[in-house]
Symmetry: C2
Subunit: 285 residues, 2 copies
């Protein structure tokens, strides 16, 4: 076996053209590099250079050796990178959630249960979330329905129901309930980070306009000081209180009422046993 730093030095020499330049680049002395190259030749049992007293050049074998060396160095580099990536993956639990509201508590739960692990959460409205679970991009997914497929394991968690909030003067403000299609064509204030609700709204109200807001505080301000209808959920109302001067009317579409499901691959069911137990316990309360 020949140590890889010799190949690294060979590649450096090929890059620089002279020993002195390469030595400088490698932060070693010129004699050290000279000896290294001699040692490399010796260990290979092959001559790599033409020596013209005051000039060192690669011979044909040397050129080939450089190509091989570069290849080997790349190999090792990528191998190390992959190992580090694998290790990082192994110590992080990636959660993909279609629901924004559940994320903080869920992340807290995971950090407590899996000390030392990094918890990474992502909010996404992407309906391919179960697919991503299979691909290993996420280990846990919070879905708005029980996923299809024998390879998934899931338990129900919180339910959430969609409401539209209207100013009292709004023509529909005295309704007991509304279908989304009744609201189509209007202009809404909408928070951009609402996961799967976004997709539902756009599907059911193709003619509606949405004034997307990145900042939750700005959104609150606008809701309080404009007549645009906006959306909220029972979960939000319960946790942050009702918005004054607004009437919250339940949405009657069946899709507007969801039960979130905490999901993982069957193969990882055991690994996340504690999580599911916690959810079940909390849910039965």
């Amino acid at each position: 076996m020949i140590e890889i730093h010799l190949f690294e030095q060979l590649a450096a020499f090929a890059d620089c053209g002279t020993l002195s330049a390469a030595a400088e680049q490698l932060h070693i002395s010129q004699p050290a590099l000279s000896r290294s190259m001699q040692r490399l030749e010796e260990e290979l049992g092959v001559s790599l250079f033409e020596r013209q007293k005051s000039r060192l050049t690669l011979n044909e074998t040397g050129e080939l050796a450089v190509r091989y060396a570069r290849n080997l160095l790349l190999q090792e580099e990528s191998m190390i990178q992959q190992l580090r990536d694998f290790d990082r993956k192994r110590r992080t639990i990636c959660v993909g959630s279609c629901a924004p509201v559940l994320i903080p508590d869920f992340a807290t739960l995971l950090s407590r249960l899996y000390e030392g692990m990094t918890i990474s959460t992502e909010l996404t409205g992407d309906p391919r979330l179960p697919e991503y679970l299979r691909e290993g991009r996420y280990q846990i997914a919070i879905l708005h329905e029980k996923p299809e497929g024998e390879d998934f394991y899931s338990v129900p968690m919180e339910s959430e129901h969609l409401y539209v909030t209207l100013p009292p003067v709004h023509p529909l403000a005295d309704a007991d309930g509304l279908y989304l299609k009744d609201l189509d064509g209007q202009t809404f204030l909408l928070y951009s980070q609402i996961g799967f609700w976004d997709e539902l709204c756009r599907r059911k109200m193709p003619s509606a306009r949405f004034l997307l807001q990145q900042d939750i505080d700005v959104l609150g301000e606008l809701v309080a000081n404009s007549a645009f209808p906006a959306f909220t959920t029972d979960y939000i109302i319960q946790h942050t209180g009702e918005v004054t001067d607004r009437i919250a009317i339940p949405i009657l579409d069946p899709e507007a009422s969801v039960t979130y499901h905490c999901t993982c691959l069957q193969a990882e069911k055991a690994r996340f046993r504690q999580v599911f137990e916690h959810i079940r316990a909390a849910h039965s309360r």
Copy 2:
């Protein structure tokens, strides 16, 4: 960069199961190996083992690392091997010849012209010799005809003519010349190392039997003391003298008269310039 011997030691540990066994296999002490593995983990920035006080086992990352390590080691090994092969190839001139008689002088010529090079000669009756030249298996070929193809360069060298030697009592012994087909069906003494002549004899005399002899002296003995027809050439007669008690009759088939051609790839013409000059000089004498 991580030195490759660390990966080697990791692989050894995976093979042996314990540090002590691996240390023994590697001819180093157990503490040295223990520290090496710690260093490997440190340099990778990744933990590879489960440490149970008195038992060291690979964790999931470790298993992966072992697979990668084995791969890298194989890579390096094969790279070194290929370099050595390439170097050897570079310092040897491989000659493929269809003619046995020319080989010794030709080999001598090459050694003199290319000092320090290894000269490897092979006798073969294989008609694909030009193909092999293209593939780089040989650098020079001695063929019994000028090869077809723009990519070849060749100069004519010695000519050789085939004779059959018969005992005086043989019914055909008084012929001035014979075609091979006239001799078909008989039993011949034949030297096994005669290159392309072999193929010619078998093709032209499909019903003949050949008593193949590996040993040239044994063959001489048998020729001198039996009535079996045998083959010789003007070149052989000229260099080793006539066989007593035998009549040499020329073979009249046009293929029985050949001019050998020293051939190389056009691309290597310059490299072997001296050889061709020598041949031309000798030939014009």
